[in-house]
């Protein structure tokens, strides 16, 4: 985008021509000496050895972005200029020259080569939805293995909207310390789908992007591209796409009512809360549906506790994790010892 369009998207989710886009999309560079005055430029991939060409751009403009403009965009998109915020830090770590113009893309980077069974384009997901004959589709974003709370959340959403299927749509990318490798995570999710969902009601897919951690604004972006991939509904729970304490628990839900331009999105948001197994009711419930419960009435385990148990070959209670899912995760942790 040009700086003008990027600022428009940051300010009010609209480009200069009125088109809706929730966040600025900029190609920020530190050094443009090699490409000044050039009409066509090859854009090389920073994440693959040898930096192969990822796309070719027809250069419209190279503009310098001022500090004030960077600050403005940071404020509006991330809701903060705090450089401790990982998304802010990543955004500001880029150069200050914005290269803009239409692009043509030649590959899907390491996302497709490293995750061939899971990576999908929006085109492919649309086609698969048509093949399945699905008309009402819920999509669910995750980075981690799905435990019973997530399984039930998907089922609640599917029941509520009478969905034909759910697309589990995972963010693919580099591992952080403690992350489960993607093939293990995918196997665990596929096992859950095979055993605990009606046949042919779950697609396990992924996409590649550098997460913004921008909370509400990123939730809107998430809804945008889930509509593009053919989903009619998208699950947004507590602190969606957030990090730390930057965003209110349900800001990523209310933004759709308060800031998204009227008619911009057809996809509907399934507004969710944390789900957990209720010892009182003997089933997984949404916390907002059990206002009389205290923390002790739920089976709650922190991520750290779950990793610790699995790492020690101890399956979490079946109210928390399906045994077959736990088995796959425990087998992985065993390989680390």
């Amino acid at each position: 985008m040009t700086v003008g369009d990027a600022l428009g998207c940051a300010e009010h989710m609209k480009m200069s021509d009125g088109s809706f886009f929730p966040v600025p999309i900029l190609c920020l560079l530190e050094d443009v000496e090699e490409i000044r005055g050039k009409q066509r430029v090859a854009l090389r991939d920073p994440n693959v050895d040898g930096n192969p060409v990822l796309a070719v751009i027809d250069v419209n403009a190279i503009e310098e972005v001022s500090d004030a403009e960077m600050k403005r965009m940071t404020e509006k998109v991330y809701g903060t200029t705090d450089e401790e915020h990982p998304g802010v830090a990543a955004f500001l770590s880029q150069g200050r020259y914005a290269l803009s113009g239409p692009i043509k893309v030649l590959n899907f980077s390491y996302f497709q080569t490293d995750f061939p069974d899971t990576f999908r384009t929006a085109v492919e997901i649309r086609n698969e939805i048509v093949e399945h004959g699905w008309r009402t589709i819920v999509s669910f974003q995750t980075r981690n293995p799905m435990h019973r709370a997530h399984e039930e959340l998907c089922k609640m959403a599917m029941d509520a909207v009478k969905a034909d299927g759910v697309v589990v749509h995972m963010l693919l990318g580099k591992l952080k310390p403690g992350d489960i490798p993607a093939p293990v995570r995918d196997a665990a999710i596929r096992k859950m789908a095979e055993l605990y969902f009606p046949p042919n009601s779950v697609m396990v897919t992924g996409y590649g992007f550098d997460m913004l951690y921008a909370g509400p604004r990123e939730a809107v972006l998430h809804a945008y591209f889930r509509q593009n991939m053919g989903s009619t509904h998208f699950i947004i729970g507590r602190d969606h796409a957030g990090v730390g304490d930057y965003y209110g628990a349900f800001d990523a839900q209310t933004i759709f009512d308060e800031e998204v331009p009227e008619g911009a999105l057809d996809i509907q948001i399934f507004k969710a809360d944390h789900t957990a197994y209720s010892k009182k009711l003997n089933k997984v419930v949404m916390m907002r549906d059990a206002p009389d419960h205290s923390k002790e009435d739920f089976v709650l385990l922190s991520g750290t506790k779950v990793r610790e148990m699995l790492g020690n070959g101890i399956a979490p209670p079946p109210e928390f994790s399906r045994p077959e899912v736990a088995e796959i995760l425990m087998a992985y942790y065993k390989t680390l010892t």
């Binding site: 985008m1 369009d5 088109s19 809706f20 999309i25 900029l26 190609c27 920020l28 560079l29 050094d31 443009v32 090699e34 490409i35 066509r40 430029v41 090859a42 854009l43 090389r44 991939d45 920073p46 994440n47 060409v53 990822l54 796309a55 070719v56 751009i57 419209n60 990543a90 880029q94 150069g95 290269l99 803009s100 113009g101 239409p102 692009i103 043509k104 893309v105 030649l106 590959n107 899907f108 980077s109 999908r120 384009t121 929006a122 085109v123 649309r126 996409y207 590649g208 992007f209 550098d210 591209f225 509509q227 593009n228 991939m229 053919g230 989903s231 009619t232 911009a264 057809d266 996809i267």
Partner: protein
């Protein structure tokens, strides 16, 4: 099926036509080039895949 954003058809920026794709690849070898940021690469992948349709401009 739910319509894509802002258009009746999804407009992925990946070059599917093999002839055009090969020609672009060849041309790219001799073009001036720049290594882009990880964020910009992610944007390109999303645009390529049709996720950010109908956005054409990086």
């Amino acid at each position: 099926m739910i319509k894509p954003i802002g258009s009746d058809t999804l407009q992925p920026l990946f070059v599917y036509d093999t002839g055009e794709h090969q020609a672009l690849r060849r041309e790219a070898e001799s073009l001036p080039s720049v290594v882009i940021s990880s964020q910009a690469a992610g944007n390109a992948v999303m645009m390529g895949g049709g996720y950010f349709s109908p956005l054409k401009v990086s």
